[in-house]
């Protein structure tokens, strides 16, 4: 029996764009325990609802996380709308789905790139991010922003996408799809990639359920749960939606689920663009949430289910705003996967849960 050593991982680490600290207790080359320490990104923005009114807070909600920025503004707006009983126009719901799915494509491409970087495939990283730039170009053309879009408002959306822009989006997406198949081929079939992912970081279906994992991390362990299947908002108009699952439960399965979700999202955008109805993009919202009124809402973010809760107090300021983000759900799963893994695989395993620390700590 060798002596246990503690190797600190992070908060500044080349594989992580974000600060997460782990104390890895290792014996020889095997990790016996991983002790996470978080709190480097905590800003305390849930408390800002006391000083920003419900329209202003949408811009704070958007900055919970820069990767799922659109998702957070959408989730927050939907919560406040249900708090106040606002009916959103159909066209706005369609536009929200289109932007949300574009965000998912950009988030997954970003992740695929970072995963490639984690196992040392630098050129694949660059190719993923090159494709992602084209999604950001769509964002810039339709909203004016690359990362923070500021396009959702309580009661609808701020900007419309006209027919010629819509054609351009579809045309760009077809180009991306064409190039993406090449990247997917490497990600899923290349021998050197498979050596790093197949059989690494296994978690069973039962453990995934026990640890309340969400999103692609859970779906890779065959948990068929995706909030989009409940048909909330514009998702109710989809002709068919099935969560994409894999049964293997290892890093390879997580890569595969996300790879396929990109294509699924592109198909959703195409369907929505084809049948988007004409009409208003926002309704005027007057008044304030009633005192004691409560609303809860779930949304499928690129990283999994995100839960929102809001309570009104009769003024234009909310009494309480609470989010439970996918990464905080998945941290327990990550720690359990890390136990017993090889030290060299730690990078890859941490990356495959797609951690978003600024969502988690807010």
């Amino acid at each position: 029996m060798s002596k246990a050593t503690i190797i600190p991982f992070g908060p500044q680490h080349p594989v992580l764009p974000e600060p997460l600290h782990l104390d890895l207790v290792v014996e020889d080359e095997t990790v016996v325990e991983a002790i996470p320490q978080i709190g480097f990104v905590h800003r305390g923005l849930e408390k800002l609802v006391e000083t920003r009114d419900y329209n202003q807070f949408i811009y704070v909600a958007e900055r919970i996380c820069g990767i799922c920025a659109f998702g957070h503004s959408l989730g927050y707006a939907e919560t406040v709308e249900s708090l106040m009983g606002v009916e959103v126009p159909k066209r706005a719901e369609y536009l929200r789905v289109i932007w949300h799915e574009l965000s998912r494509v950009h988030s997954h491409l970003l992740w695929l790139g970072l995963a490639a970087d984690a196992f040392g495939f630098e050129s694949l990283f660059m190719h993923c991010w090159r494709l992602r730039e084209r999604i950001l170009d769509i964002f810039e053309k339709t909203t004016g922003g690359r990362v923070i879009l500021s396009v959702v408002s309580v009661g609808g959306v701020n900007r419309d996408i006209n027919a010629s822009q819509m054609d351009e989006i579809i045309h760009t997406l077809e180009g991306i799809e064409h190039d993406y198949h090449e990247i997917m081929q490497v990600m899923l079939n290349d021998g050197s990639v498979k050596n790093r992912t197949v059989g690494v970081g296994y978690i069973s279906h039962e453990s995934a359920l026990d640890l309340c994992m969400v999103g692609p991390f859970a779906r890779a362990s065959n948990v068929a749960y995706d909030v989009r299947m409940f048909g909330h908002g514009g998702y109710g108009e989809l002709s068919d939606f099935q969560p994409l699952c894999a049964t293997e439960g290892d890093c390879y399965a997580r890569v595969k689920v996300r790879c396929e979700e990109v294509l699924q999202s592109i198909a959703i955008i195409k369907e929505m663009a084809a049948k988007i109805p004409a009409g208003d993009i926002a309704v005027p919202v007057k008044g304030s949430p009633a005192a004691g009124a409560e609303a809860a809402n779930v949304l499928e973010q690129p990283r999994g289910e995100c839960y929102y809760y809001a309570r009104g107090n009769g003024t234009k300021y909310l009494d309480r705003m609470r989010m439970r983000t996918p990464t905080s759900q998945n941290l327990a799963g990550m720690v359990s996967v890390l136990e017993g893994c090889d030290l060299a695989d730690v990078n890859m395993i941490i990356l495959t849960i797609d951690p978003c620390i600024s969502c988690t700590e807010r």
Binding site: F40, R43, L48, I64, R130, R146
Partner: protein, 149 residues
Amino acid sequence: MAFASKSPWVIHYDGSSCNGCDIEVLATLCPGFDGERFGVINTGNPKHADIFLVTGSINEQNIEVVRQIYDQMVEPKVVVACGICACTGGIFHDCYNVLGGVDKAIPVDVYAPGCAVRPEALIDAIVKGIAVLDEKSAALEKKKKEGVA
């Protein structure tokens, strides 16, 4: 500055940013904007880095980490505050756990505002950083000579 006298290696640390600026820092170095044409390489080792790119504001937990990374860097070194949160605290300036911009912890040479900071602004900040690096290394040389004489 007619030419860059040095290929600056950069190290990136996320203070308490929302990720928006972090992914823009990485996007700057990727093919879309190709920051690498200025010789910029992203390194994970503070001892190899010339320019320290900090995103996000400073809080109680990360102030020591930022100081440690800065102290480990070798002179001459330049600090670039990337994004409005790193410059002043930005939209989160009145949050209870935000102390303010990066200049609360370490001296900042170049400020690149924006929410999120645009890659063009970052490239501009890095190129300005090279000029600051030149000034600092000239000052170091001068000090060394005076010390010898």
